[in-house]
Symmetry: C2
Subunit: 335 residues, 2 copies
């Protein structure tokens, strides 16, 4: 066990950190495939497409890590790993409609391939099916946790939609939206297994906090990658957020620091989605030279540090270590 802990702390890839739960993660894949076998052909087709687009299965991995931390023996870890991935997939499908995206991870989105109509319905089916899978075991507390996270995700999206294309996003609003849109599902994924057994219930809160901080770290890095990666690494255009009318933290920090004319040009891109008065290259350089990317990275690092801090309240061992190492790997990821 000491050896394993050492190997995790030396991990260079998320895959290494997750090594102990990989066999269970394969069970999650099998569970998802079995689910789809019984679905309508069109649901199967669309969902396989979205699930097969090379996602990292981060959220199911969190469910599995916590389950293992508590020595859970049973089938709930796999089932709820699959459930959080279905919820996540549902939000991806609906988000792509909302953003009118045609590419995700380098492939056409569901709405692009099958139309908005089918995409709306497949998203609905995935949400409902996920709830149904919770109900089969009658796990009311698990469902409460997941439903609360789903409500917050939808509310976060609505808040984002409300301010889209405008500069009406303070840092506080941005952080609140990000917590709801991303961090709450990470929190639920980490905390769900604490609900499997009465003896671990008191770990629910610290696990939610670990998950929230992981999620915030994850999303801030995602926002950075939109400025630092290439189109081929992202599988979608660079500065997609800006083009889609969304201000993320780097831009929110940048805007008050640049001159009025340049600010007006950037805001025009934000509201029109087109680089007209200012070139893509010029915006990128302004951002990169301004120092805001380093500031945002420092913020992301602070969230990762919080993960390590709160993890102290969890049972010591390989899995706790894995949460901490995962947060620093998420911080340094390139895609």
């Amino acid at each position: 066990m000491g050896g394993s802990v050492r190997s995790i702390s030396q991990a260079r890839k998320l895959r290494d950190v997750l090594d102990p739960v990989l066999p269970r993660l394969e069970e999650v894949e099998r569970f998802l495939n079995r689910e789809l076998e019984h679905a309508l052909p069109l649901v199967r087709e669309v969902t396989s497409w979205v699930l097969g687009s090379g996602g990292k299965r981060l959220r199911p991995s969190l469910v599995l890590l916590t389950s293992r931390m508590f020595g859970y023996v049973g089938e709930r870890d796999v089932r709820y790993g699959a459930v959080v991935e279905l919820v996540h997939t549902a939000t991806l499908v609906h988000d792509d409609i909302i953003d009118e995206s045609d590419l995700r991870r380098g492939r056409p989105t569901a709405n692009q391939r099958w139309g908005n109509q089918v995409a709306v319905l497949v998203g609905d089916w995935l949400y409902t099916r996920a709830m149904h899978l919770c109900l089969e075991l009658g796990d009311v507390d698990v469902m409460r946790c997941l439903t609360a996270a789903t409500l917050q995700m939808t509310e976060g999206e609505l808040m984002a939609e409300r301010v889209r294309g405008t500069a009406d996003v303070t840092e506080a609003v941005y952080l609140d939206i990000t917590r709801r849109k991303t961090a709450e599902l990470f929190a639920a994924a980490c905390a769900l297994p604490a609900l499997f057994q009465p003896s671990t219930l008191h770990f629910t809160e610290p696990l939610m906090e670990v998950g929230r901080n992981l999620g915030m770290c994850f999303q801030l890095v995602d926002d950075l990658l939109d400025f630092t990666s290439s189109r081929s690494e992202l599988g979608k255009p660079v500065m997609a957020d800006l083009r889609e009318g969304r201000l993320t933290l780097p831009m929110i920090l940048l805007l008050p620091r640049i001159d009025r004319a340049r600010r007006a040009s950037v805001l025009e891109v934000l509201s029109t989605g087109v680089f007209e008065c200012i070139s893509e290259q010029e915006v990128l350089e302004t951002v990169r030279m301004s120092g805001v990317l380093e500031e945002v990275r420092a913020r992301a690092a602070a969230y990762a540090a919080r993960v390590a801090e709160i993890a102290e309240r969890l049972p010591a061992g390989q899995e706790r270590e894995a949460f901490v190492v995962a947060s620093s790997l998420l911080l340094d990821r390139r895609s």
Copy 2:
């Protein structure tokens, strides 16, 4: 009581049939309003708009009727009446996106007023909030029943989407789609209160059947109204189904009976949404002269008759009478 029963059997309007549950229906309205008070402003705005569009609150009324039939005393009738209305509202909001409708009951749809983006999210919020309201009381069986109905609704929509714009809809496929899209939520609304108390559990099945038949009757009449009503009565264009690429039962029965040239012209309207080779008036007259409307009405009447037949298995009294009378009033409705 004898007097009340007589007055229900003489009812001429749905409102009269529902008279005994009207006070509870007002509680449902209050429950919905309280729900919205706590929602995000944008959710409140959109949902109030959709809920305020003059719907008949048919599904909550069914929940209340069955609750009263069983002498239920408590708050679940009002809560689950509100829940089925929220689920129904969520499907309306998403359906209007799918159909690209801009009018419902004579008013702009949510997607028309706030855009597809907001409409997708508000629909998601309503579904999730409805589930959350079931979870507050931990009523797992109620949730199972509702989630199963919601899955079927989504599957029905997907099946309909798959064949949309084409003539690949047999009568059997149409009936299966209609059962899923409409009848299963009616079934759930009628049956839910049987789950409130162990002593009434054995009524679940006949109540589901009563609800399904009511729902089928309701939808077949809806399909007829699309040919027999005026634009002002419908609050949307006449033959909206055909324009949106949907074959309903009257058309499914008609197509094999008309000559090849005319069939080709109708199928072109179905696939293009435009009356080009044939006028709107000519299609309407062909349908009206063919006798298919009378046939479809006879089918709807058969579903209403089934309601009366199955109702025999329910406890006798005013509420049972109400189900039977409601089905014949739904059959004769004009809007």
